[in-house]
Symmetry: C2
Subunit: 97 residues, 2 copies
């Protein structure tokens, strides 16, 4: 867990919003065609209002920081929260700070 990378990833409101959505997928993505168990399809995050390529970049930042994990199924990529990293971050920032 690279604290610096994680904290920078959390430094953008859209990325924090995405993580919050992923906390309760059934609440925010009930309309998803695929089963939510595999994760939330990348395209679903278009709701943040940014262009598709920008959303993809934000998701990549979250993934590089280890805050989400991905799984490709066919032409889709599904995203899940990585609760381990999030918990580790909260522990470390609570300690360091």
């Amino acid at each position: 867990m690279d604290l610096d990378e994680v904290i920078k990833a959390l430094g953008h409101p859209v990325r924090r919003e995405i993580l919050q959505w992923l906390k309760e997928p059934e609440k925010h993505f009930a309309d998803q065609a695929h089963p939510l168990e595999v994760g939330v399809c990348a395209g679903m995050f278009a709701r943040c209002g940014l262009s598709q390529s920008t959303v993809s970049t934000h998701l990549a930042v979250l993934q590089r920081a280890g805050l989400v994990s991905t799984r490709r199924i066919g032409q889709w990529v599904f995203y899940k929260r990585n609760d381990d990293t999030i918990a580790a971050f909260l522990r470390q920032i609570g300690q360091e700070l």
Copy 2:
């Protein structure tokens, strides 16, 4: 407490280091000429290796985010951690995230 401003303030390693130093002033600033009770003198943070103006800017970012409070005594400005804001941040980020 503006979460966005706080998290951005924490997004720079030097600013986090300053907050950590301020956690134990007697440990890191035992050489200060002034009593540590009033806070840590701005000039003491030169040890981070950056120029005076840059240090001053970082301190201003921390202050605007409410992470530190200041007190001017004569020609000096003394900085203290603002534990209330820090605690509020940890609470909120732990809840939102």
